[in-house]
C-alpha cells in the first residue's frame, strides 16, 4: 500500500456504486476461513456447545477456561439463541438464532490487535478501502458475573466484532487476562457479500452441478417456527418448573464432594435460556427480572468457584507428587539437557 497522502491531500467524497463483489466469501466460506486463520495462530478449533446459549461467551470453553492459571487458546462457532429477538423471519436484520465466531487467547498475546486485523484481511475486507476503528465499548455479562474492557470494532461505521480483555468472570478476578474476539457472523457476511437482507446471504458457493444455497433456504422456516413457539406456544408454567429444576440440579451438583462444576454449569446455562424464554413471553416483570438474573448469576458464580477450586487442588496434587518423586531420588535430567542445549 502506498498512499502518498499529506495533510493537503485530505479529500472529501460522495459515494459511488460499489456492489457485491462476486469473489466475496460465502457464509460457510467465512467460517472455514476464520477457522483456518485462527488454527494457524495455535488455537484449538472446537465445535459448538450442545446446550442453548445466548452468546458464544457462555460456552464453558470461554467462561470456565478463562479462569485459573492455565494458558488456553481456542476458536469455535457458537449458535446463539435470543428468543426475544425473533421476528417470524420478517425482519432483514434480526434473528432469534444466529451464529457467533468466538476466539479466546489466554493470556492475550501482545500482538492480538494485529492478529485480529489479519483475520479481516483473510476474509477479504480490503483495509485500504475500508475504515477500521476501535471504539470504546466495555463489555459486561451480569448473568455470569463477567466484565472486561475493550472496543466495538467498526468497519465503515458498522460494528463487525466485539473485542474484550476479560477482567472478571464468575465474579472472580482473573489471574491471566484473556483476549476475547466475537464476530457476528451473519452481519459480517452481509457486509462482505454486500447484501441488505440476511436471508439473501449466499450460504455456500455454486458448483458446476449444483446451485448455491441461500441462508433463507437453510434457516427461514426455523425462524418462523421458533418465533411462533417462543412467542405463542412456550408453556409458561412448564418453563418455570424447568427453570426450578435446572436450578436445583445445578445446586445439587455443586453441593457434591467433590463437586461437579462442568455438568452443574450446563444446568446453569439451561436456566439462563429458560429465563430468556420467559422473558420473550413477556411474563417477567422488571422486579422479577432482576431476581431471575441474580439466581442465574449465583449459579454461574458457584460453578466458577468450584471449577477454580478443583483446578487448584489438581495443581497442588501434581506439585506434591513431583516433590515426592524428587525425594525418592528420581531426579529428572531434563533441566540439565536443556542447559546443555543452551550452550
Amino acid at each position: 500500500m502506498s498512499t502518498n497522502s499529506t495533510k493537503s491531500d485530505i479529500r472529501t467524497a460522495t459515494p459511488t456504486a460499489n456492489e457485491n463483489t462476486p469473489s466475496s466469501l460465502s457464509f460457510q466460506g467465512l467460517i472455514l476461513t476464520l477457522q483456518k486463520y485462527w488454527a494457524d495462530q495455535g488455537c484449538v478449533i472446537l465445535q459448538p456447545f450442545d446446550t442453548e446459549v445466548g452468546a458464544g461467551t457462555l460456552h464453558p470453553a470461554t467462561v470456565l477456561r478463562s479462569l485459573g492459571p492455565k494458558p488456553w487458546n481456542v476458536a469455535y462457532v457458537q449458535p446463539s439463541r435470543r428468543p426475544a429477538d425473533g421476528r417470524y423471519g420478517e425482519n432483514p436484520n434480526r434473528l432469534q438464532h444466529y451464529y457467533q465466531f468466538q476466539v479466546i487467547m489466554k493470556p492475550n498475546p501482545k500482538n492480538l490487535q494485529d492478529l485480529y486485523l489479519g483475520s479481516l484481511d483473510a476474509i477479504g475486507i480490503d483495509r485500504d478501502q475500508h475504515d477500521i476503528r476501535f471504539v470504546e465499548d466495555d463489555w459486561e455479562n451480569p448473568t455470569v458475573g463477567a466484565w472486561g474492557l475493550g472496543w466495538e470494532v467498526w468497519c465503515d461505521g458498522m460494528e463487525v466484532s466485539q473485542y474484550t480483555y476479560f477482567q472478571q468472570v464468575g465474579g472472580l478476578d482473573l489471574e491471566l487476562v484473556s483476549g476475547e474476539l466475537t464476530y457476528g457472523l451473519e452481519r459480517l457476511a452481509m457486509y462482505v457479500q454486500g447484501v441488505d437482507n440476511v436471508y439473501d446471504l449466499r450460504f455456500n458457493d455454486a458448483t458446476e452441478d449444483r446451485p448455491s444455497v441461500s441462508y433463507g433456504e437453510v434457516f427461514h422456516q426455523n425462524e418462523v417456527q421458533q418465533s411462533t413457539y417462543n412467542f405463542e406456544h412456550a408453556d409458561i408454567d412448564k418453563i418455570r418448573q424447568k427453570f426450578e429444576y435446572a436450578e436445583e440440579e445445578c445446586q445439587y451438583l455443586l453441593g457434591l464432594e467433590p463437586p461437579l462444576p462442568l455438568p452443574a454449569y450446563e444446568h446453569a446455562l439451561k436456566a439462563s435460556h429458560l429465563f430468556n424464554l420467559l422473558d420473550a413471553r413477556g411474563v417477567v416483570s422488571p422486579t422479577q427480572r432482576q431476581e431471575y438474573i441474580k439466581r442465574v448469576r449465583d449459579l454461574a458464580k458457584g460453578c466458577a468457584e468450584a471449577h477454580v477450586a478443583l483446578e487448584k487442588r489438581d495443581l497442588e496434587k501434581l506439585e506434591m507428587e513431583k516433590a515426592k518423586s524428587r525425594k525418592a531420588g528420581l531426579t529428572s535430567s531434563v533441566p540439565k539437557l536443556a542447559s546443555i542445549e543452551d550452550l
Binding site: M1, T3, S5, T6, K7, D9, I10, R11, T12, A13, T14, P15, T16, A17, N18, N93, P107, N108, P109, K110, Q113, L117, D126, R127, D128, Q129, H130, D131, I132, R133, F134, V135, E136, D138, G148, L149, G150, W151, C155, D156, G157, M158, Y165, Q167, L174, L176, V177, Y191, D196, S285, P286, T287
Partner: protein, 744 residues
C-alpha cells in the same frame, strides 16, 4: 536545559478520556519533576487515539543543595552530641560548624546534597506516575499486574537525545515509535521532538495535536458542505470526540435516503451523533436537515472514500429504518393512551411505578398551578401526558429524547386532528382531484392516513367537565411535556410557561419527598437519583420566574400521597436552601452575607420563600457594599463586642433602654425608637432596600454616641441603660440579618 521527549504508546484510548489524560500526565510530570528539584520549561502535551506525549525542557541534573541542621549548644553532654552526629550523618563533632546567637554558641551540621541526574529522577518518577495514573477505568493485560487504560505497547523517553532507562509494566522505554496503522507503518527511530513530530506527521501519517486535528476536520467538513450548497451543523463535543478517534482524519460527505427526513430531526441527529458519530448537515437556504451526513474516517482510501461513504450510509439507513419502525408503531396510539402502560415501569421499588409517580405529580401540579399562574386542570392533565412517552419504543431506544418525543407526538396528533376535523367528511370519500393537492400540502408527513386515529386530546375531559381546549392551552401542554424535565443542569434553561412551571416543580418536589421518605438522600459524592439537581432545579425555576411560593406547603401536600409508612421529610427544606446557597455563591453573592440572612431566616421571616430570601440577601449585600453600610457595620460590631465583653462579666441588663438624659444617648434612643418602627413597616412591606435605608439612618447617632459617651459609665444605672441601648442596636439590626456573621 535539555529536551525531554516522553511518549506513551498503547492500544486505542477511549476518545472521551484523552483530554483529561493529557492534563493528568502534564500535572503529574511537571509537579513530579519540580518536587525533585528540576525546573520545567516550555511544556507541551499531545493526546490522540494511541498516544500521550509530554515534551518539556528540564536541566540535566538537579542542583546541589546545602542544608543546615541546628545542633546542641557547645559544651552539651556527650549523649546529646552523639545523637546530633548520628542524625546528621557525621562521624566527629569537628565536622560540624559552630554558630552563635543570643543564647550562645551551638553546633550546626552543613549537609551537602549533590544534585541527582535527571535520568535517574525520570527512571523513578515515570513508573510512579504510570502505576498510579487516574484513568476512570483501567485494566490488566496478559500476565502482567500493571494496569493501564488498554494494553501498553511501547514508550519513548529521550533526554537530550539519549534514551532514559525507564521500565513500566514489562515495557522498556526506547527511541522507537509507530505511525498510523494503515498509512504509516513503522517502526520509526527518533532523536528529539522536532524529528519525532516531523517523522510522525510525514511518513507516520499521524497528526499529533488534537486541536490541529479538530481544526482540520472543521475546515474540511465546512468546505465539503459548502461545495454542495449545504451547511454543517456544528457540534463541539462531537468534534472533540471524532478528533480523538482518528490519527489521520479524512472528512467524507455521505448521502442517505431522503425519505428518512420524515423522522423527527431530533431522532435523526441523535442517531447520527451517538450511534455513528456523524455530523448532521442542513440545507443552507432553509435550515432544514439535508439527506446527508459528515463522517470522519481515519484514512484516505484509494477510491476517495466512496466505499467508506457507502458503508456508513448503509449502517445509518439500518438505524433510521429501525427508528422509522418505532415511530410508526408509536404513532398507532395517541400519547395519553400510553398512560396505563406506565404502570409496567418501576420508578423505584419503594415508590411505585411511573404511573404512580405521574398520578402524584398530576395532583401536586394541580395544587401548585394557581400559585404560578397556571390553570389547575391543564397542569394536572399535562403532568399525566408528560410521562407517557417513556413507554414508547422511540424513547426506549433513544432515552435522551424523553419529553421531546412526547411533545412531538402530542403536536402531531393535534395537527392531524386539525386537518381531520374540518375535512372529516371529505376524507371519508375518495378525494376529488383538487382536494388531493390541498391535503398533501397541509400534510408535512405526507401520505399518513389523517383520519385513522381517535383524538381524545381534541376535547379533553378535564375534571369530568368537558372543556374545549384552546390553541394556547394545547401549546402550553405541549411545552410542559417537553420542559418538565428542565433544567437538567446548571447551564440548561428553565421552563417559563406557567403550566410547564407547575409540572416541572411538581415532578421535582415529588422526587425529593419520595426519596427522602425512603431515606435515599444523597451522601457525599453519591447522588444516584440526581436529587441535588432536582433541588437546584426548584431553586432556579422559582427564582428565574420570580414566583412567590411556600415550598413546604407542597412538600406537606405530596407527603400525604405516599403510603403512611413513609414518613419524615427532615431537612428537606434545609437541603433546598443549601442548593440555594451554592447557586447564590455562583452568582457572586458573598457567602458571609448569605449566612447572615440565613441565620435570621425562620418560619415568619423568609422561611421557604426563596424569592424573599434572595431579596433580603441582595439588599444586605448592596448595603454592606455602600459607605453607609460599611460604617454602620463598624458601629454594629463595636456595640456587639462591648456586649460580648460585658456578658463575660455577668448577665446583661434586661429590658429595653429607657430615655436617657445625656444628649447623644438620647439622640440614639430616639433614633432607635423611630427606626425600629420604620424597619418593621418596611419589612412588612417586603421593602428590604427601604429597611436597609432606615438602618443606615442609625449610622450618625451610633457614631456620635460612641464618640461622646463613655459606655461603661461609673454610674451603674447609666451604664446599664447604655448597654440596653447597645442591645437595642443589635436587636434592630438583627431583624434583617445577623451582622455578627459578616466579616468587614
Amino acid at each position: 536545559m535539555a529536551e525531554l521527549l516522553f511518549e506513551i504508546f498503547c492500544e486505542e484510548i477511549p476518545a472521551r478520556m484523552q483530554v483529561r489524560a493529557g492534563q493528568d500526565l502534564e500535572k503529574a510530570m511537571t509537579t513530579g519533576l519540580n518536587a525533585a528539584g528540576l525546573s520545567v520549561d516550555d511544556v507541551r502535551v499531545f493526546t490522540g487515539p494511541r498516544r500521550l506525549v509530554y515534551v518539556a525542557d528540564i536541566p540535566l541534573q538537579s542542583p546541589d543543595i546545602e542544608e543546615e541542621r541546628k545542633g546542641p549548644r557547645v559544651g552539651s553532654p556527650q549523649q546529646a552530641l552523639a545523637g546530633f552526629l548520628r542524625g546528621a550523618g557525621l562521624t566527629d563533632i569537628s565536622q560540624a560548624e559552630t554558630r552563635s546567637d543570643k543564647k550562645g554558641e551551638h553546633y550546626v551540621a552543613v549537609i551537602k546534597k549533590e544534585g541527582v541526574s535527571s535520568h535517574e529522577i525520570l527512571s523513578d518518577l515515570i513508573p510512579n506516575i504510570m502505576n498510579k495514573f487516574p484513568w476512570p477505568k483501567s485494566m490488566k493485560s496478559g500476565e502482567s499486574a500493571f494496569r493501564w487504560v488498554r494494553p501498553l505497547q511501547s514508550m519513548i523517553c529521550l533526554l537530550n537525545e539519549v534514551v532514559v532507562l525507564v521500565e513500566v509494566g514489562g515495557v522498556t522505554a526506547g527511541n522507537v515509535t509507530e505511525g498510523h496503522r494503515r498509512h504509516g507503518a513503522g517502526p520509526f527511530t527518533v532523536t528529539n521532538f522536532e524529528n519525532y513530530k516531523s517523522v510522525l506527521e510525514g511518513e507516520g501519517h499521524v497528526i499529533l495535536d488534537a486541536k490541529e486535528r479538530e481544526a482540520l476536520i472543521l475546515r474540511d467538513a465546512k468546505a465539503a458542505c459548502e461545495a454542495k450548497g449545504l451547511e454543517l451543523v456544528e457540534d463541539a463535543g462531537l468534534l472533540s470526540e471524532v478528533a480523538g478517534l482518528a490519527e489521520w482524519p479524512v472528512v467524507i460527505l455521505g448521502k442517505m435516503d431522503p425519505s428518512f427526513l420524515e423522522l423527527p430531526s431530533e431522532v435523526i441527529r441523535l442517531s447520527m451523533r451517538t450511534h455513528q458519530k456523524y455530523f448532521a448537515v442542513r440545507k443552507a437556504e432553509t435550515g432544514q436537515l439535508a439527506p446527508n451526513f459528515i463522517v470522519v474516517a481515519n484514512q484516505s482510501a484509494p477510491d476517495g472514500g466512496a466505499a467508506i461513504a457507502q458503508g456508513n450510509s448503509r449502517v445509518l439507513s439500518a438505524r433510521l429504518a429501525d427508528a422509522q419502525f418505532f415511530q410508526s408503531e408509536d404513532a398507532k396510539k395517541n400519547l395519553i393512551e400510553y398512560y396505563d402502560k406506565l404502570d409496567t415501569v418501576v420508578f423505584h421499588k419503594k415508590l411505585g411505578s411511573i404511573r404512580d409517580k405521574a398520578e402524584r405529580v398530576s395532583a401536586l401540579a394541580k395544587a401548585i398551578a394557581p400559585k404560578v399562574g397556571a390553570d389547575a386542570e391543564l397542569a394536572a392533565h399535562a403532568a399525566k401526558l408528560a410521562k407517557c412517552d417513556l413507554v414508547t419504543q422511540t424513547v426506549i431506544e433513544f432515552t435522551s429524547l424523553q419529553g421531546q418525543i412526547g411533545r412531538l407526538m402530542y403536536e402531531r396528533a393535534l395537527r392531524d386532528a386539525a386537518i381531520a376535523a374540518p375535512q372529516g367528511e371529505v376524507s371519508a370519500k375518495p378525494h376529488p382531484k383538487d382536494g388531493v393537492a390541498v391535503d398533501s400540502k397541509s400534510h408535512p408527513e405526507g401520505g399518513v392516513a389523517v383520519d385513522s386515529k381517535p383524538h381524545p386530546e381534541d376535547g379533553v375531559a378535564v375534571d369530568s367537565k368537558e372543556r374545549k381546549l384552546s390553541a394556547e392551552d394545547h401549546a402550553s401542554i405541549a411545552v410542559a411535556i417537553e420542559d418538565h424535565y428542565k433544567p437538567q443542569g446548571p447551564s440548561d434553561s428553565v421552563p417559563t410557561d406557567p403550566v410547564a412551571i407547575a409540572v416541572a416543580l411538581a415532578d421535582k418536589v415529588d422526587s425529593l419527598v419520595g426519596f427522602w421518605a425512603i431515606d435515599e438522600k444523597p451522601t457525599g459524592s453519591k447522588d444516584p437519583f440526581a436529587l441535588r439537581r432536582a433541588a437546584l432545579g426548584i431553586v432556579r425555576i422559582v427564582l428565574e420566574n420570580d414566583k412567590r411560593l411556600k415550598i413546604s406547603a407542597f412538600i406537606d401536600f405530596t407527603r400525604d400521597h405516599f403510603p403512611s409508612s413513609l414518613s419524615s421529610e427532615d431537612n428537606l427544606i434545609a437541603f433546598i436552601l443549601d442548593r440555594l446557597k451554592t447557586y447564590l455563591r455562583d452568582q457572586g453573592l458573598r457567602h458571609d452575607v448569605i449566612d447572615s440572612v440565613y441565620a435570621q431566616n425562620n418560619s415568619t421571616r423568609g422561611g421557604d420563600d426563596l424569592v424573599d430570601i434572595v431579596n433580603r440577601i441582595k439588599a444586605v449585600q448592596a448595603f454592606i457594599d455602600s459607605q453607609d453600610g460599611a460604617n454602620l457595620l463598624a458601629g454594629y460590631k463595636r456595640a456587639a463586642n462591648i456586649l460580648k465583653a460585658e456578658q463575660k462579666k455577668g448577665a446583661l441588663p434586661d429590658g429595653r433602654a429607657r430615655a436617657p438624659h445625656e444628649a447623644k444617648s438620647r439622640a440614639l434612643f430616639t433614633a432607635l425608637q423611630s427606626t425600629d418602627g420604620t424597619i418593621d413597616a418596611r419589612l412588612q412591606a417586603e421593602d428590604y432596600v427601604g429597611a436597609m435605608a432606615a438602618l443606615a439612618g442609625l449610622r450618625r447617632p451610633i457614631d456620635e454616641f460612641f464618640m461622646d459617651v463613655q459606655v461603661i459609665a461609673d454610674d451603674t444605672a447609666v451604664k446599664e441603660n447604655n448597654l440596653r441601648l447597645l442591645k437595642d442596636i443589635r436587636d434592630t439590626a438583627q431583624k434583617i440579618a445577623n451582622f455578627d456573621l459578616i466579616s468587614g
